[in-house]
């Protein structure tokens, strides 16, 4: 019987390139140096300083400069850990994918959906705005913002497009997918940073004559959080590798927003009361996880999208 030819050419390469590893180190180094003289701003305020730093170093214009969406996802992950108050994802990833003009420094992402809040709406010079079936790019004079107080990591507001204003239509599906990738990347970075901070703490916290990090219940909660962070990061990277793969982006957002509250609960629990304090820093990550889990309708909305994309109505 004739033998079948098999694959000889190898294409799959499921790892970061050395250049991408260097990119991560570069951005982390820049932000760590920035933090020495620029402490984290107050909770729920925009980190303009970090955003300007990243802008000055070209990290917000990677796509415009010919870089890949995966490269930008790496920037978002790193920024989530070291500059979580900087609105990097909308500016560096979503806007370049969705609009053709040069985006302003602060871009926000909003929806017309009931109950949704828009992060950085007050500070935004442009908002990518998603309706039920359509989407628009709202410039600064084309929307109003009602500020909403929230302690959960970001300045937020309710956005209303101005009646009769001239707005630029954008492709809704493309906006939704790019947003989901950005969301997953940001959540992945926050999850990992929170897990590593909590791991360092429990290793040094002694109770009952031993490090609480040696207790298996504690270890397993953090190990599960780490698994969630890695899955989220790789789902976001995989989705960014093909920004036309809408299901991959929906799956990334579904997983990320589903696991965000699990990671939040675990890292806060193992750190105990210190975990609530501003000085410890854990809430820099967890408060934002709390807000991000709701974005774009939260896990159930993303999950339903995955199902609709994977099993279209015509095939059911």
């Amino acid at each position: 019987m004739a033998s079948t030819e098999v694959a000889e050419e190898v294409i799959v390469d499921a790892k970061l390139s050395s250049e991408q590893e260097d990119l991560i180190q570069s951005i982390r180094g820049a932000l760590e140096r920035h933090r020495i003289t620029n402490p984290y701003p107050s909770p729920s305020t925009i980190d303009v300083g970090a955003l300007k730093l990243l802008d000055s170093l070209g990290y917000l214009d990677i796509i415009e400069s010919g870089g890949s969406p995966v490269d930008v996802v790496l920037v978002i992950e790193a920024a989530a850990a070291l500059a979580p108050g900087a609105p990097v994802a909308a500016r560096a990833l979503v806007a370049p994918i969705v609009i053709s003009s040069a985006p302003p420094e602060v871009v926000a992402l909003g929806t017309s959906w009931a109950g949704s809040l828009c992060r950085f709406a007050n500070e935004a010079e442009g908002i990518l705005y998603l309706g039920n079936d359509d989407a628009w790019y709202l410039r600064g004079d084309e929307f109003t913002v009602e500020s909403i107080e929230s302690r959960w990591g970001y300045p937020v507001g309710r956005v209303t497009p101005r009646d009769g204003s001239t707005t630029e239509s954008v492709e809704a599906k493309r906006l939704l997918t790019a947003w989901r990738i950005a969301l997953a990347a940001e959540i992945g970075g926050l999850m990992e940073a929170a897990t590593l901070l909590a791991s360092a703490y429990v290793s040094e916290r002694f109770q009952f004559g031993r490090s609480i990090g040696s207790i298996q219940t504690v270890q397993h909660r953090l190990a599960r959080s780490y698994v969630a962070s890695q899955a989220t990061k790789w789902l976001a990277r995989r989705a960014a590798w093909d920004v036309d793969d809408h299901e991959a982006a929906a799956a990334a957002a579904c997983y990320a927003t589903s696991e965000a509250p699990e990671v939040l609960a675990s890292v806060q629990q193992v750190c105990g009361a210190i975990g609530f304090t501003d000085e410890f820093g854990l809430t820099r990550f967890t408060a934002r996880l709390a807000m991000l889990q709701t974005e774009l309708g939260g896990p159930w909305a993303h999950a339903r999208s995955v199902a609709e994309l994977h099993w279209p109505a015509s095939t059911r």
Binding site: A2, V6, D13, S203, Q219, L222, Y226, W234, R238, Y255
Partner: protein, 382 residues
């Protein structure tokens, strides 16, 4: 980073699907992977012989051992396609993915000549003699002892929870060949024909599934020293790598992925709407966990291919994620089909089994989490 399949890999996938369509025994289900009876044993052997004849069983093996020196990704394509089809290779997926490669790497020329050709021809079934009544997750506590007697070892002891033992031709057996204060010292690997005198296999009744699990007793079993794989007393490090390979190369994500299609089809036949919010959300969540598990699998496989030191930890991360995936899929079956998913004829029946088994077989979830906590997060052991 690139997640594209090459044209050759796409073509390989197509040929495998054609082969499955034409050669899979009608009615083969994932549960049949355990080869419960003569029918499933023969069907599995016949399927594998055909794969071997077409060069589709061991393409990633070196040419000298019956392969085609293809990439590891070709072997992953095969794992995905066949696991997705219910793993009609039966236990032989273990042979080609890690037992054969272990013999290639560590075996003597005589061992290679003895054991590799039957594997490459699709004619040998292996089982793994690892767990014992007092050595489960704590595998290094194993006590089955192989005492040297000239050119032979005399093996006495008991293995348990052994899959495929009733059908197996050979056992990849962990034994203790020396007693030591460090339980990880003094472990050796023996390649044992299952028809050797003194081996007794007993089935363990399990969820009304025939021959899913077994006990294997060794009563003064004489095994030639030449069937020892690797150095005497140095088996532990080999096993750690082998177990990591077991965790990453079975492509469970594809089995779960396709079972969700079965779920949709079954729901349609029963007139159950899957676009109802709870149903579609549970389906979408399960599919998202499949995507997560798949990408983590590829990351781990890449590390294995590259010889990365991070591979064992990445294998643990993958395994932990795959356990959650199995649970999410089971939840979807139960949410959509209800009790119907527990009917023996339902695709959900095996999902329920898998949701329980996945967290135990091939190294428990807790062992994976321990490894991540200690090796990655550097949490203290004491």
């Amino acid at each position: 980073m690139d997640f594209s399949w090459s044209d050759a890999e796409i073509e390989l996938r197509r040929k495998l699907r054609t082969y499955v369509e034409e050669n899979l025994r009608p009615g083969w289900r994932s549960i049949d992977r355990d080869v419960h009876n003569d029918d499933t044993i023969e069907a599995s052997l016949q399927f594998c012989r055909g794969l071997a004849e077409r060069g589709l069983l061991t393409p990633a093996w070196p040419v000298e051992y019956g392969g085609k020196a293809a990439s590891r990704w070709a072997q992953i394509v095969i794992s995905e396609e066949l696991r997705g089809a219910g793993e009609p290779r039966g236990p032989q997926y273990t042979n080609v993915n890690w037992i054969g490669p272990a013999i290639m790497k560590l075996g003597t020329e005589e061992q290679k000549a003895e054991f590799l050709p039957p594997i490459a021809a699709g004619e040998a079934m292996w089982c793994q003699g690892f767990s014992e009544p007092d050595a489960g997750s704590d595998l290094s506590a194993l006590r089955t002892f192989a005492e040297r007697d000239g050119d032979e070892y005399i093996v006495n002891g008991q293995k348990i929870w052994t899959s495929y033992a009733a059908a197996a031709d050979y056992c990849f057996l962990l034994v203790r060949t020396a007693r030591s204060d460090n339980p990880r010292d003094g472990i050796s690997i023996l390649l044992v024909p299952m028809d050797t005198a003194g081996i007794e296999v007993r089935e363990i009744a399990t969820l009304d599934i025939d021959h899913m699990l077994h006990e294997v007793f060794f009563h003064n079993v004489r095994v030639p020293v030449r069937f020892r794989l690797g150095e005497e007393n140095q088996g532990w490090s080999i096993i750690r790598t082998l177990l990591a390979n077991e965790r990453t190369q079975s492509s469970l994500h594809e089995e779960v992925n396709r079972s969700l299609n079965d779920l949709v089809n079954e729901a349609r036949q029963l007139g159950i709407a899957i676009d109802e919010p709870q149903s579609s959300a549970s389906l979408g969540k399960a599919a998202s966990w499949v995507a997560a598990s798949r990408v983590l699998n590829y990351v781990a496989i890449q590390a294995l291919s590259d010889g990365s030191e991070h591979y064992p930890n990445l294998a643990s991360v993958y395994k932990a994620s795959s356990v959650q995936m199995a649970g999410k899929a089971n939840e979807a079956f139960l949410a959509i089909l209800g009790a119907q998913s527990l009917a023996t004829s339902s695709a959900g029946d095996y999902r329920m089994i898998s949701s329980i088994e996945t967290g135990i077989g091939g190294g428990s979830t807790e062992m994976q989490l321990n490894a991540i906590a200690w090796q990655v997060l550097k949490l203290p052991k004491k």
